[in-house]
């Protein structure tokens, strides 16, 4: 395999990894605050269709991305209202949000099927982008690819080194302790859920504006679920989410190439399972091995917060 076939392959890996990374890093922040939002897939779909519609309507992809971010936040606020304020079950509400997102996105998107849109422009960095091989690989991407990495770096710093990040982790670790010291658990969780919605919306925008610049019903094709698996796969650590997103993206692309190459006897469905299988294996190994107890799952994940009195 020479460099001419490898380079496009690597570029597609980056493209496949970006929506996973965006959605997963948002969900990681949500889960670190102790909230499990299974509505990632739905929020991505709504983000995708809104980004597409706004871009087609205004001609501005940036406006489309911003609109997608707000759409994601709006859906996450519905989730927050139900689970945080009204204390509905998080798992059931998250599943409902996904189903709701599928429906709403189909409804909005029905008139856009077949409409073309210009692919999100590559940010050309003079000098750097023109370096052979490395140029297109590292500096030949659109704004969302850079944004996904930048958000990951920021989230890693935020959780590890900022006071607000410490409070966020504390709320996910023991909501009752945080409450008794005087932190507003519900407010922190609302903010974390909204950040998750924002990231999911942008991840959706990436799909409909860059990955495949068009609107297709159900175009996330399970990526929201892979993002959820990715958070657990990465044992709730931002840098591992970054690595995991690229591994999972690579597996997706590898599968496409193998299919194209006539297959090596492995059915495509088996390859599709790989991200989930990898998550199960990693979780099993971590929970059974000597790292037991160091899984780093937030202790209050998925539990509603009810102050004692």
């Amino acid at each position: 395999m020479n460099i001419d076939t490898l380079l496009p392959m690597l570029l597609t890996v980056i493209a496949a990894a970006t929506p996973l990374l965006l959605a997963a890093i948002g969900e990681l922040v949500t889960e670190k605050s102790g909230v499990l939002n299974l509505g990632v897939e739905g929020m991505m779909l709504v983000g995708a269709v809104i980004a597409f519609a706004v871009t087609v309507g205004t001609g501005s992809a940036i406006l489309g991305i911003i609109a997608a971010a707000f759409a994601g936040i709006a859906l996450s606020l519905v989730f927050g209202l139900l689970t945080l304020t009204l204390m509905a079950n998080q798992v059931a509400t998250g599943l409902a949000l996904t189903i709701f997102g599928i429906g709403v996105s189909s409804l909005i998107g029905s008139s856009y099927i077949g409409t073309p849109v210009e692919k999100l422009a590559v940010l050309h960095i003079p000098g750097l982008s023109d370096i052979p091989v490395l140029g297109p690989l590292l500096f030949g991407h659109d704004i969302l690819v850079y944004a996904s990495v930048a958000i990951t770096v920021l989230v890693a710093w935020f959780l590890k080194s900022s006071r607000a990040g410490l409070i966020l982790r504390a709320v996910g670790e023991s909501d009752l302790s945080a409450h008794s010291i005087g932190y507003d658990v519900i407010k922190v969780r609302y903010l974390a859920v909204m950040f998750g919605g924002l990231c999911s919306g942008i991840a959706g925008a990436y799909l409909s504006l860059s990955y495949t610049p068009m609107w297709v019903e159900g175009m996330t094709a399970g990526r929201g679920w892979i993002a959820l698996a990715l958070v657990a796969f990465a044992s709730w650590r931002p840098w591992r989410v970054l690595g995991g997103a690229y591994i999972f993206g690579g597996v997706t692309i590898l599968q496409l190439y193998l299919q194209g190459a006539g297959g090596i006897g492995i059915p495509a469905q088996v390859m599709n399972m790989l991200p989930y299988l990898a998550t199960i294996i990693v979780l099993t190994v971590i929970s059974a091995g000597p790292w037991r107890g160091r899984l780093d799952a937030p202790a209050c994940l998925g539990k509603p917060f009810r102050p004692a009195s």
Binding site: L166, S177, S180, Y183, G293
Partner: protein, 541 residues
């Protein structure tokens, strides 16, 4: 008795004066100043209950003031209002003579109020440093500097702490230090402590009291909540007694006896546990542990190391020890929740049962009460009737041809509620909605009323008030008198000394020789609890 008390007082006075470095009594100073904290007319109602009704008292600068009361007397609700977690419905809080509003814990800390919680407000997966930083409003950006301050302050008050350690690796005593140091770093002027000694060894209690006296000598006031009346006599300058949400009395603990304070608390004649003189004519061996060893169940736990123990019919054997020294695994190994490596490691009435599960062991006449009430001793979301069914259906015959006889189980639950004075609306109430003390009464009562051959109880009176504790303890003594063998695993040394015929100590997974309770000294047990065998510690309190 009177002579003892006076000597105690003199000793204490001497210490305080030395601590102050002055010849002035703290109360003399208080006259000239406003009280540090003055509550008046505090009323707080929840749906269905009035938790506090017209509560008022004063705490002088440099005073250690006790807040006494049974479970549900409204102590925790009251201090939550002082710390800004709850808002009073009416009434006023005066701070240094000025009326203040405390809308949040942040506001409380800004005034100089620190709080050490009964159930620690700590984050297990985080470091000491992070936990301290979370409890402060302005920890500063520089974490290295904060770590240094933690070391300095913790050492100067005799509470050494390593800022880099993660909380889940620390003992309960060390965890409490984090809470205290967290308060001290903010130079508190009033420290609220909710049941601080229930988890400490006698030596740790001594150390804590030194710290508190040092704080007092620096002018810090302390509001001290405890069930342990002897401690209050030793430590506190004044006491306010709550009953049913109201102030029923104020007293000087040093002029009262533990008994008189207990009576003020419960508002009735206090019956102490009537112990038979037993132990000598103990019956046959009912249960034996033979070289029982086991790896810890939880990461960071201690393994059980070759434990030998024999328990006779009619005796109560107490196992003292600081939490986290293998008590949980020991109970699980006896209950059958965890199986021993060999059947012979656990023997009941001559039968090797080490490889049997809990149901099989219960069938042989064993009943157990685990330490954790919610989720281990009881299913929180199920009713008391169903919880009675779960543990008692075999022994009490609540099953008929494979079907549950709920009526029988309900009347059994009702009997437990009546006999052990469980405060609950009824038998169909969810176990999780009972207060900790009341659920404890229910769970212990449920096992005792099954008249087990062998009963193993962890922390029988944890969080239970004096009167109810006496009821539970009396029931245990009466059960032993019928020939049952009872093993009590507890951190409460006073309780073990009251109840037990013999006492053994568990430390780092090893169990000491059982000693006759009548002759053993508290110091001896305390040293064993601290892991010191035989040789007295240098400069031990």
């Amino acid at each position: 008795m009177v002579v003892m008390t006076q000597r105690h007082m003199l000793h204490w006075r001497y210490r305080v004066l030395r601590g102050l470095g002055l010849g002035m009594e703290p109360s003399d100073k208080a006259v000239k100043e406003h009280p540090r904290l003055e509550l008046s007319g505090i009323t707080k109602a929840f749906p269905g209950v009035i938790a506090n009704s017209d509560v008022g008292f004063k705490v002088a600068p440099g005073e250690i003031h006790a807040l006494l009361g049974e479970n549900g007397a409204g102590k925790s609700t009251l201090v939550k209002q002082i710390y800004g977690i709850l808002k009073p419905d009416s009434g006023s809080i005066l701070w240094d003579g000025r009326e203040v509003d405390i809308p949040s814990p942040h506001a409380a800390r800004a005034l100089g109020i620190g709080m050490v919680f009964q159930h620690f407000s700590l984050f297990e997966a985080m470091t000491v440093l992070e936990n301290v930083a979370l409890g402060m409003d302005d920890p500063g950006k520089d974490r290295v500097a904060l770590a240094k301050r933690i070391r300095q302050v913790s050492e100067s008050y005799g509470l050494p702490l390593d800022p880099a350690r993660e909380v889940h690796t620390l003992s309960v005593g060390e965890r409490q230090r984090i809470e205290i140091v967290r308060c001290l770093l903010q130079s508190p002027r009033l420290l609220v402590m909710d049941e601080p000694t229930s988890v400490l060894t006698p030596q740790e209690v001594g150390k804590l009291f030194e710290t508190l006296r040092k704080l007092k000598s620096e002018g810090c006031s302390i509001l001290y909540i405890s069930h342990k009346l002897n401690e209050i006599k030793e430590l506190c300058d004044g006491a306010t007694i709550l009953r049913g949400g109201k102030v029923v009395a104020a007293c000087n603990p040093r002029e009262e006896t533990a008994r008189s304070m207990a009576q003020l608390m419960i508002g009735a004649e206090f019956r102490s546990v009537a112990r038979r003189e037993g132990g000598k004519d103990a019956g046959p061996v009912r249960m034996e542990l033979k070289a029982l060893s086991m790896a810890p169940e939880m990461a960071h736990g201690v393994p059980l190391k070759s434990i030998n123990l024999s328990l006779r019919g009619g005796e109560i054997l107490g196992i003292a020890g600081v939490a986290g020294n293998g008590q949980g695994d020991l109970l699980a190994a006896i209950a059958g929740e965890r199986k021993a490596a060999t059947a012979g490691a656990v023997v009941m009435d001559g039968k090797p049962v080490g490889r049997l599960g809990p149901a099989a062991r219960r069938k042989l006449g064993l009943c157990t009460v685990p330490e954790e009430r919610n989720g281990h001793g009881a299913v929180p979301d199920m009713s008391l009737t169903d919880n009675a069914m779960l543990s008692a259906h075999k022994r009490m015959g609540f099953m008929k041809g494979g079907f549950l006889d709920t009526a029988k189980s309900r009347s059994f639950a009702a009997e437990v509620i009546k006999r052990f004075d469980v405060r609950t609306p009824g038998t169909e109430t969810a176990a999780g909605s009972l207060s900790g003390g009341n659920l404890q009464k229910f769970i212990v009562g449920r096992e005792i009323l099954q008249k087990p051959e062998i009963l193993v109880v962890a922390q029988p009176t944890w969080g239970v008030d004096a009167a109810a504790a006496a009821t539970i303890q009396q029931a245990l003594v009466d059960l032993a008198a019928t020939g049952s063998a009872i093993l009590v695993i507890s951190q409460d040394l006073d309780e073990l000394l009251t109840l037990s015929d013999r006492i053994a100590v568990i430390n780092a997974g090893q169990v000491s020789e059982a000693m006759p309770a009548a002759t053993v000294s508290v110091e001896e047990i305390g040293l064993l609890m601290g892991g010191i065998h035989g040789t007295p510690e240098k400069g031990a309190a």
